[in-house]
Symmetry: D2
Subunit: 258 residues, 4 copies
């Protein structure tokens, strides 16, 4: 069983070290992770500058790129084999609801999924690494389970897991949930640099807007470990017909207009 491990907080983050220790005996685990913090890097790939891969003292490899770069490079040449599972995390903070769109942790896992490999992204719901040992233990339980049991869906699949920062004894069961929704992000924060230039900082993510029962927000608030299966089909199939009507009157310049 071959497992590729990455993250978005960088190869020296406590979260990836804890996750590595937790799952290392479940298979051949290789780490290819970003050199630096890549929070909110989404699925970004580095197209216009070269990537370098270095070996860290602890056997991890790190890349001067994004989470998706790490998985991409690993899968398209660096590893020399196709892993059975891509695991990402444990992230320093929640990736629930709309966070998944921006998350580098999810981006790393999704890159595996887009190459046809099952993948799991793990996050703690609060920043600061409290009870990281408990999160790592829960992560191990889920990885062990997906390796042991026939997956419920055709390959590949992609799971987004959020774990409350609680002692192991206080963590409740795994709960399969849909993603909730957040309110719009906070206002941009502006500061003036000593040179008199205005600096803008992206504000905090908005609070939960849809945190009804059945969502990841709801489950983790109760102490459950949320598990959300993701799929990556952005097409709004229900809307195809309506839009067809709207564009129908537009001119078709070409001869075969139709």
């Amino acid at each position: 069983m071959k497992i590729l491990l990455s993250n978005d907080d960088g190869y020296r983050a406590p979260g990836i070290e804890a996750l590595y220790e937790a799952i290392r005996d479940l298979g051949d685990v290789e780490v290819v992770a970003p050199e630096h913090n890549n929070s909110a890097k989404s699925n970004a790939l580095t197209l216009h500058s070269p990537l370098y891969v270095h070996d860290a003292a602890n056997g991890f490899r790190y890349v001067n790129g994004t989470p998706a770069d790490c998985v991409h490079v690993a899968l398209t040449g660096l590893l020399g084999y196709t892993p059975d599972l891509v695991v990402s995390g444990i992230n320093n903070g929640a990736n629930m609801g709309d966070d998944t769109i921006y998350s580098g942790t999810v981006g790393a896992a999704m890159e595996g999924y887009l190459f046809g490999i099952p993948a799991i992204a793990f996050s703690q719901t609060q920043k600061g690494w409290s009870h990281l040992d408990a999160a790592a233990r829960k992560a191990r339980e889920l990885v062990q389970q997906v390796l042991a049991c026939p997956p419920p869906e055709a390959l590949p699949w992609l799971l987004n897991v959020n774990i409350p920062n609680l002692p192991y004894e206080e963590l409740k069961s795994f709960k399969v949930c849909r993603l909730g929704r957040r309110h719009a992000a906070e206002k941009v924060i502006s500061q003036t640099s000593p040179h008199g230039e205005t600096m803008y900082w992206i504000g905090a993510a908005g609070p939960a807007k849809d945190d009804a029962e059945g969502t990841d927000f709801h489950a983790t608030a109760l102490g459950h470990v949320s598990v959300t299966p993701l799929k990556v089909d952005l097409t709004d199939h229900d809307a195809l017909r309506g839009w067809s009507r709207l564009v129908a009157p537009l001119p078709a310049a070409g001869t075969g207009a139709g």
Copy 2:
């Protein structure tokens, strides 16, 4: 009618200049775009360094960040009002099928959508800007139509549009399509630097794998302008039940397990 215009090729790219000229008389159009090429930057946001906004000689504003940063900063404070439409592009190359996951052009539009504003991402299917005038004219037609007609869906909506690089007369009708799928990306390309270090470059996107009738690949290959409505719900609703069964046997450490 207030329109925010951005892109991912940078504020000096021919695509955004052409699009601005094409739609400027349809409303109050403001440009906030990246300083540099941000291809494949997906929905990435810059959280850990400050963003600066500068005025270009032509009235555009540019930001030392990603496409999503530009729209985010514009909507959360820079503009001082909420635009009626966010438009992104015209991109230098296709954003079809899985490209949409990585695309900074789509990322900019999606940022508007996530703030509740209708948005359109425009791309030419080939790189090199050939027949950019025709693409801009087609973009104008669609923007005009969505401003004029009641949208078929509740707000917000998000359209991904790909325009073949053809003379205007050869372009066929707008065609509403689902996203196709691509094969996995090409192998990573490695080079050795003069210092003896191995440099890795992300390889080209894979060829179309699902380009059946009804897809954006199929429509644009025939000369149509593809229009794909997108939605951003990554939850795989159909898979919730199966995964619930799989995680059910896992231990619930906490007292309220269940």
Copy 3:
């Protein structure tokens, strides 16, 4: 007569545009300048990442590197010939006294000098480009003079020129000066980012400490254009003997200790 022109404020800065216009008819002038502002980049070279050279619309070429990178790449291959003179500037602000150690404007000129080519660095004493036309006219006068007259020194030579921001009619004569000295720089400026991290900013250069008659500070304060010939021999020849005595007692491990 072949002239290579560079700067540190970037190829789009008013200073390099004005200088180009002022000297373009004095020879074949080619511009290879940094893409971005590189103030205070000293003689820094980019060793560990590749440099790209692009053509701007106005015929200038720009490089994603430092001022010294620009001149280095131009002289070691890009130009294909050896220019007769390297000119740098006009810089946005003074490069007097200790500033020359940090200055990218001087760094670009010094790179030419280290390749054996005479070089001149031009700066305005105040930021903001006021009376840039007068500075460019003065720069032209000096370039014309060094092209016309036999230089007083063996090749190569290196001149550091600072021009007060005054109308042409108010500028006094060129005055050859030594460099003055500045007091230590201002205290570092600290700010707290919205994420609670302390950010440090390099403070302003110190005020003049040695601005006696004969220095660049003194001359420019009176309205003169200061011209300081530089040489690059960092050895403190007068101190060699004293240090020899100090290290003499140290052990010589090797067999041929001497």
Copy 4:
């Protein structure tokens, strides 16, 4: 006795770790070093983006900036006191002759010197860290000596030290030398990226041109540890008169010309 230690290879480089271990008992030694490799960064300062200071697990502090940034920030606020000595290195490779102009190792030491603090830059003459223990032991000997003996010159002073990569027993005595000179650098190296863009790489430093007896090149080739006192007065005093004659004929526009 308070010592500030920095380098240009980054805070995790073997050279700074070895130097720290070698001198830590000679005083209160604090490390403030760059986060990343900053070879050839000269005296560059970061003016236009904020610097962050982080604590490493081993007690070192690291900064996302240049060697000169590190020393600058330390001396203008971070340390809260004025150290008695600034030490930089041990560098991975020679800083002899013209190298000193580009060297980040020398740049860090020179920043201390410009703030009025004695400073020493240490380098090994070959890359690769062979016999680093011997170099560290030699560095300790010199630091011990300058702390123990009255310096031969008024404060501040600045030493540039190059140590052959030899076993301790084979290293010969410290030898006070002037800087040699190098031939011009090698030709720029060009490569084509997979996107078809030409990438340029700064070529290797040139071979020694002036390596006569009395130079650092000569001494280290014989196995000596070269010690070169530096001073930072770029004015070419001998040339002032000649240049005065050359500029004399130029027009003085201003009323007080003269």
